[in-house]
Amino acid sequence: MSHADDWNPDDGPPPSDDERASARALSEALDHREAPRDPDLAAALSVARRVQATAHPDPEAARKVADRVVSAALAEHARPAWRRALRGRWGLAAVAAAGLLAVGVGAGVSATRPAPRPVDPITATTAGDFTERLGENVGSAPAARIYDDRMRAYRDRLLRGGRR
């Protein structure tokens, strides 16, 4: 017998296969504790649970839940206000946003700094040849002579491969 043949028109229009599948899933979910992922199914199940909770309360289970939640809430309330503010979905989002901001700023700062360039050994040993302090009693020497002396020392250093 097909589905359409055994459907009572008093119960509305004949269901589609999709509706039958959803109805079957809801019926099975009613016998289990886990909530279905489909939002419409979850909403229908929560209505069923409301009816059940209204008509068939479970005082012992309710007392256990309430005691547990009171203890947890008191413990949470004892924490500093800023830590309490970071609870729940928005708290996690705030922490994640702060983390991303810190990483982004750090990456930006390091990107603006020039990376250190490799220096060859000769350049490293001759780097101070033109900037080192003048020796004693050279105050009256012409600048051109000082420069020539330094240029000569620099050239000799290059020819020796950087050795002094």
């Binding site: 809801l26 929560s46 649970r49 209204t54 007392r63």
Partner: protein, 220 residues
Amino acid sequence: MTLSPRDGWLFAREVPAYGARPRGIMGAPDAAAAEERALVEAAKGGDREALELLLKRLATPLYSAVILPRVGNPADAEDILRDTLLRAMERLTTFHWTGAGLFPWLRQIAIHLIVDQARSRQRRERLGERYEHHVADVMPLHHAGADEMLMEQQERAVSLRLMEAAMATLNPRYRRAVELRLLEERSREECAEAMGVTTGNFDVILHRALAALRKAYGVR
């Protein structure tokens, strides 16, 4: 307290009046109200033990008779209870004592949170749920120091009235499906047999009945 059609759940109207604790349990109502007021004042002053005593006394009726019958899903109801208690603790200094005690104040916070949750879920999932916040017509008369069992019965009577009103909007066969499966807690097969349909068709009828009930139920 489990209600069934045989117990007359559909017409459950006789609920003990609020305020009077049973004799021999907590003493006279005035003494109980004075005790609750003293606990509230102590808790406002930072007395953690008083706060814990108050919350433990009121959390069970709040969860089982106010939150769970309006939310359905136990995990969501637990979250609402936790948020209610945290908000109450944060704002306890703003609470002004009335003869109704602390419970109606907690109840109001809980219902605000339930409605907020329903609105946010509706925005997120485009559900066709109805939510209302006009609680005056379904607000029981509270008295400070009332026994928890009486509070629970009074609140449960409100929940039953809401459920009956929603059920009354269903067509008779849909209502019968809900009664058989959820109120009488029969198996799918028994329900299908009682309604003279196949189990597959019974599933569809119940599915449609719950969709219709969801629209009629709302959050109040």
